[in-house]
C-alpha cells in the first residue's frame, strides 16, 4: 500500500492537568478546517480528541502534571490520524463495561470509549493499553 501524503502533522507532549488539551484540540480543528473539513466531521474529530486526551490525562496519568501525554497527529484533505500515549499502567478496553447496556445506562463513566469508537473510522490500542491510535476518513464535503 502506498504511503498517504499528509498535508500537516504535529508531535507534542502535554502536561497531565485539567485543560491542558485545549490548545492542541484548537490547533487540530483549525488545520482540518483549512484543509476543507466540514462541521460534521470536525465535531467527530473534536469528540475523539477531547475524550482520548482527557482519558490519558485523568485515567492514565492520574492528573499528575509531571507525567506527559504524547500526542501525534497527521491530517490531509481526506484523512486524519492520531496517536495518544500516556505514562500510566494502561487498561484493557475489552473489560470496560458496555455503557450502552441497559444495566449500565445510569453508570456515570465509560462513555468516552464508546464515543471515540463511534466517531472514528478505526481505533486500536497497544498491548499494554496506554496508547491509542485512531484514524478518521472524511465523510462529508466542504463546509458551507
Amino acid at each position: 500500500m502506498s504511503e498517504h501524503s499528509w498535508s500537516w502533522n504535529v508531535h507534542t507532549s502535554l502536561p497531565s492537568q485539567s485543560g491542558a488539551h485545549e490548545s492542541c484540540v484548537r490547533e487540530v480543528l483549525a488545520q482540518l478546517k483549512l484543509l476543507g473539513w466540514a462541521d460534521r466531521d470536525l465535531f467527530a474529530v473534536e469528540m475523539a480528541l477531547v475524550e482520548s486526551l482527557v482519558n490519558a490525562m485523568r485515567h492514565g496519568n492520574r492528573l499528575d502534571a509531571k507525567k506527559k501525554v504524547v500526542v501525534e497527529c497527521k491530517a490531509s484533505p481526506d484523512r486524519f490520524w492520531m496517536r495518544v500515549q500516556d505514562e500510566g499502567t494502561g487498561f484493557r478496553p475489552d473489560v470496560v463495561p458496555d455503557c450502552t447496556a441497559e444495566e449500565n445506562l445510569e453508570r456515570c463513566s465509560g462513555r468516552g470509549l464508546a464515543l471515540i469508537k463511534a466517531y472514528m473510522t478505526s481505533v486500536e490500542y497497544n498491548d499494554s493499553g496506554n496508547s491509542v491510535t485512531m484514524e478518521k476518513f472524511r465523510t462529508t464535503g466542504p463546509a458551507g
Binding site: 485539567s18 485543560g19 485545549e22 460534521r40 465535531f43 473534536e46 469528540m47 477531547v50 475524550e51 482527557v54 485523568r58 455503557c99 450502552t100 441497559e102 445506562l105 445510569e106 453508570r107 456515570c108 463513566s109 462513555r111 468516552g112 464508546a114 464515543l115 463511534a118
Partner: protein
C-alpha cells in the same frame, strides 16, 4: 435562588426552564460547577418540574453526560420530573450513541416539554 454561573433558570408556571451558559461543555471544573448548580435545583430549592433547554449547546463531553446522569438520579430521588429539549442533531447523536435517549425524556422544543409537565 442562589446565583448561578453555568446555568440560567427561568420560571414558566410551575416549571423551571434551564439554559446553559456555555456552548461547549468540556472543562472539568466548569462541569463540576454545572453539576452542583443543577443538583441544587432539586436538593436545595426543591424544584419538581425541570426542562433542560440545550439550544445553546454545540458540544459536550462524556464527563458532561456523566454529570447529567447524576442529575437525573437526584431528580428521581426527589420525585421530580426532568425533560431535555432543543437538542441539535449532532448533540442528539451523542445521546443516541451512548443510548441515553433511553434514559432521558427528550422533546423537540421547549413548548413540547412544557406541554407534558
Amino acid at each position: 435562588m442562589a446565583k448561578t454561573r453555568r446555568i440560567k433558570v427561568n420560571e414558566s408556571g410551575q416549571v423551571s426552564v434551564v439554559t446553559f451558559a456555555d456552548s461547549k461543555i468540556i472543562d472539568e471544573a466548569e462541569i463540576q460547577e454545572l453539576g452542583q448548580e443543577l443538583y441544587d435545583l432539586v436538593e436545595r430549592e426543591d424544584r419538581k418540574k425541570i426542562v433542560l433547554n440545550f439550544a445553546n449547546v454545540e458540544f459536550l463531553s462524556s464527563a458532561a453526560l456523566g454529570k447529567l446522569i447524576g442529575f437525573d438520579k437526584r431528580v428521581k430521588q426527589h420525585a421530580a420530573e426532568l425533560i431535555l429539549s432543543n437538542i441539535r442533531p449532532e448533540i442528539y447523536e451523542v445521546f443516541a450513541i451512548t443510548k441515553l435517549t433511553k434514559l432521558f425524556q427528550i422533546k423537540d422544543d421547549e413548548a413540547d416539554a412544557l406541554a407534558v409537565l
